[in-house]
């Protein structure tokens, strides 16, 4: 199993501020996914990035896949309380499996 490290582990910011979450590995992934999970619920897929250097935008969320396909970042602009949750990155291993990072808990205070 390939290891994915997420940083920071916890992030607490005021509404309207920006934040960035990082996902790093020493291994190359064919693609990488970001999920958001709210307490007591299952993770929900936000985006899949496939190409090295790729940037995808989802409203106020910007996802970037590193050129070497070993790392990724999630940037949220003007965060809102609804952005609160556990953000998980996951790298695709082989044909069927994902390797998940430990997650970043984001709290946006109103």
């Amino acid at each position: 199993t390939q290891l994915l490290e997420q940083s920071p582990q916890f992030l607490s910011i005021q509404e309207g501020e920006n934040l960035t979450v990082y996902c790093n590995s020493s291994s190359v992934f064919s693609s990488l996914q970001w999920y958001r999970q709210e307490p007591g619920e299952g993770p929900v897929l936000l985006v899949t990035v496939v190409t090295g250097g790729e940037v995808k935008k989802l409203k106020r969320l910007t996802f970037q896949f590193g050129d070497a396909r070993k790392d990724s970042s999630l940037h949220i602009t003007a965060a809102q309380p609804g952005d609160t949750g556990l953000y998980l990155c996951a790298g695709v291993e082989g044909d069927y499996k994902l390797s998940f990072g430990a997650g970043t808990t984001v709290t946006v205070r109103a």
Binding site: E41, L98, F100, G101
Partner: protein, 110 residues
């Protein structure tokens, strides 16, 4: 559209008792199915995955087992629960790399 169900939603069981968690998927055929366990606020640990009936792979040796009696049904079992089996159990399905999660089962072993 596809939906995934898990039950029960919560479960409190004494140490040494058996366990059966059920997951069913609707709206798709021959999905890949997964069982994960999640510690509070942390990443997902893959327990089992199945790419078809009678094709189940175990990722972590422990006192849990999985079965797939029907194409869209995945069951997680134990003959004797340990305290360390407490956690949030998530079932997921996929037809490619992207996984879609159920609502989860909160298991507390007392």
């Amino acid at each position: 559209s596809q939906t995934i169900h898990q039950w029960p939603a919560t479960l409190v069981q004494p140490v040494g008792s058996p366990l059966s968690l059920e997951c069913t998927v609707e709206g798709t055929s021959n999905p890949n199915l997964y069982w994960y366990r999640q510690a509070a606020g942390r990443g997902l640990q893959l327990l089992f995955y199945s790419i078809g009936i009678d094709q189940i792979s175990s990722e972590v040796p422990q006192n849990l087992s999985a079965s797939r009696p029907q194409d869209r049904q995945f069951i997680l079992s134990s003959k004797k629960l340990l305290l360390s089996d407490s956690g949030f159990y998530l079932c997921a399905w996929s037809s490619s790399y992207e996984q879609y999660f159920g609502p989860g089962t909160r298991l507390t072993v007392t």
